[in-house]
């Protein structure tokens, strides 16, 4: 006796299947939740996510707003990109401001050069409560980090915004169920199964617009914690650090105080695809100081309600 195969033939290519799965998730959550929101940082993953959301509901308008959790310490090119993108799509933009949270005394001010990455959680959770959002789409991928590798595509958050990795809902087949009680919410990650290379191949195929800092450019940088950090209003050279002008690009985009650049001469998406295919260091390992606090830095932040 043999089992019947229950998977029919498909001729679809890998990127089209990833795209279709992501769009399926976007439509399910938009249909089942009352007030979803899409988290948009201006980074490459959220740019891809927003591109997919637009395709999912075209020719209609995006049926939910986008939200930027603004640390107040941004790369100016990324802010400009955010505003252009939102204007082009005629999307509604909600800004959750870390600076406002500091001004209102919700969180302590880490000082002019302190990283505000972790403070984003407070601003994000406050905005979710204020606007009554019951689902937030994020561009997180499982290949980014070992805690993210454990997370469901629809990830339940309790009334305190917490993620409990020991009590995740079973998530079978593609039956994404998004029911929550008042005060609770979901995070939905349509790009869960995408790798960094998939993202870049998709950007190439779809001509997804990105901020210019993803492409190689000359910049004044200092070497710190084995990363190249841009010298700007947030980062000043410390004693002993030498400012150098180097050809660099960003592999991820986060808070300007904790996101490092990598040396690269890739000025086109095609060149970046080649670079990513042969990389020896992970994107977060190469560029994120915020993941280096401890062995479980990402898990600890996620438990508190981080992206």
């Amino acid at each position: 006796m043999t089992l019947t195969s229950t998977r029919p033939q498909t001729t679809a290519d890998h990127l089209s299947l990833l795209e279709s799965h992501a769009v399926y998730i976007l439509r399910e959550v938009a249909a089942e939740c009352e007030r979803p929101v899409l988290l948009f940082s201006g980074g490459k993953d959220s740019a891809v996510l927003l591109h997919l959301a637009v395709k999912a509901f075209a020719p209609g308008r995006l049926p939910f707003p986008v939200m930027h959790v603004d640390t107040g310490q941004n790369f100016p090119e990324v802010l400009a990109f955010r505003d252009q993108t939102v204007a082009r799509l005629n999307a509604r933009l909600v800004i959750a401001s870390v600076q406002e949270a500091i001004d209102r005394g919700r969180v302590a001010d880490p000082g002019p050069h302190g990283a505000r990455n972790r403070l984003q959680t407070v601003a994000l959770l406050d905005a979710i409560v204020e606007h009554g959002f019951d689902a937030a789409f994020g561009g997180a991928r499982r290949d980014e980090d070992k805690a993210r590798a454990k997370e469901r595509i629809l990830s339940f958050r309790d009334a305190f915004g917490q993620w409990d990795p020991r009590q995740q809902r079973p998530e079978l087949w593609q039956l994404y169920q998004g029911r929550v009680n008042a005060g609770e919410h979901l995070r939905a990650f349509p790009l869960s199964d995408w790798t960094e290379l998939d993202i870049w191949q998709y950007i190439e195929r779809e001509n997804v617009a990105l901020p210019p800092i993803y492409f190689a450019h000359e910049r004044d940088v200092v070497r710190r914690d084995a990363m190249w950090l841009a010298v700007n209003e947030f980062i000043e050279p410390r004693p002993g650090e030498r400012v150098e002008r180097r050809l660099v690009r960003y592999r991820t985009v986060g808070d300007a105080t904790c996101t490092g650049a990598v040396e690269s001469d890739a000025v086109t998406v095609e060149a970046i695809v080649r670079e990513v295919a042969t990389a020896n260091v992970s994107e977060r390992g190469a560029t994120r100081a915020d993941d280096r606090f401890s062995e479980t830095a990402m898990e600890d932040r996620k438990r508190e309600g981080y992206f």
């Binding site: 299947l17 439509r27 593609q174 039956l175």
Partner: protein, 418 residues
Amino acid sequence: MDLTTDILRLATVGSVDDGKSTLIGRLLVDTRQLFDDQLDAVVNASERRGVGDLDLSFVTDGLRAEREQGITIDVAYRYASTPRRKFIIADCPGHVQYTRNMATGASTADLALVVVDVAHGLKEQTRRHLCIAALLGVRGLVVAVNKMDAVHWSPAAFQSVVDEVETVAGELGFDAITCVPTSALLGDNVVDASDHTPWYAGPTVLEALETSDAGAWSNASNGARLPIQWVLRQPGGGRTYAGMVNGDALHEGDLVTLLPAGIETTISALNTLHNGPGADAPVGLSIDVALGDETDAGRGDLLAGAPLPRVTREIAATVCWFGERPLTTGSRLRLKHTTRVTPARIVGLDGVVDVATLSVDEGDELRTNDIGLVQLQTADPLVVDDYRDNRVTGSFVLIDEVTNATVAAGMVGRATFL
């Protein structure tokens, strides 16, 4: 760049401490899938916790509690590729209390990578996992008969596990079984062939995964299905219906039936995400279609090609129960099937599966992690196929009405081995 790479989705299966996570760690490290900084982090974490130079299980056991306790709590998804194939790996927990997480990982898998400790043979938990994998429609098995170093690479010890596995796998109806003698800890026969097993001429675990045809898709068609997710309003007043194609490809001009209403119509236009308007759409693509006749189709309805699915409010199904309180006749729940959510009631319990013997025994409740045969009634009509004919229209989940937790995985019909 070639985008049509063959993909195999696999889930690890087996009891706690038989070495599933170590095997996946070994597979990823020896095929150089880890970035330098990720490998460094595993080495550092191993040293800090005093578990030797390199604890391979830390590659996938990424949670603090998992590393403290040395167990896997929830599924870790890893992505790997070799020149022959792409892999999506779900490393699943072995503990009985985390069976729901194993089922999560196995529900989307084509192949189960089973790990058995050669000194202990098939434990009850491994039998439970194999039974769940078979129910979920996993076809192929690659079995790592692990910790061979602990039995001095004995061919007799290997053969005794192989015999046991073949008996159980035969009962469960798996088609393709490959057993490999391994030491995940030392790396023997995982990626590189071992010097310790001159008596074994078969493939390594990696070779078995690269050549398995469990991911090959059959040509047997059980009819195209398009569960409607969302209605898109087009400029000028028309509507198109969006969803993901399954069962069989859809073509412009296809005769379809809108269910549960039973209205016959045609696909008058078809739109894919990548190529825009087109003549056809293969399985797995999200599309939107226009219909030849005016209908009031909406979310929860389904467009089907022949042979048509059944429209029913009463379902006989096999369920894996994950709820904390027992499921009994009379239990009220919500049921999600395709894109429809509806109230449901258990009207009969036809039996409880004994995973050790595969016999179906009489019982009046399903306890946590039990597998049982139930009769359900739903408030709204459902459009269903047997799970063995279609994984999408044959599957459902049950939802607790108070907590909204997902408490059961359900499959329409009854597996042939039960």
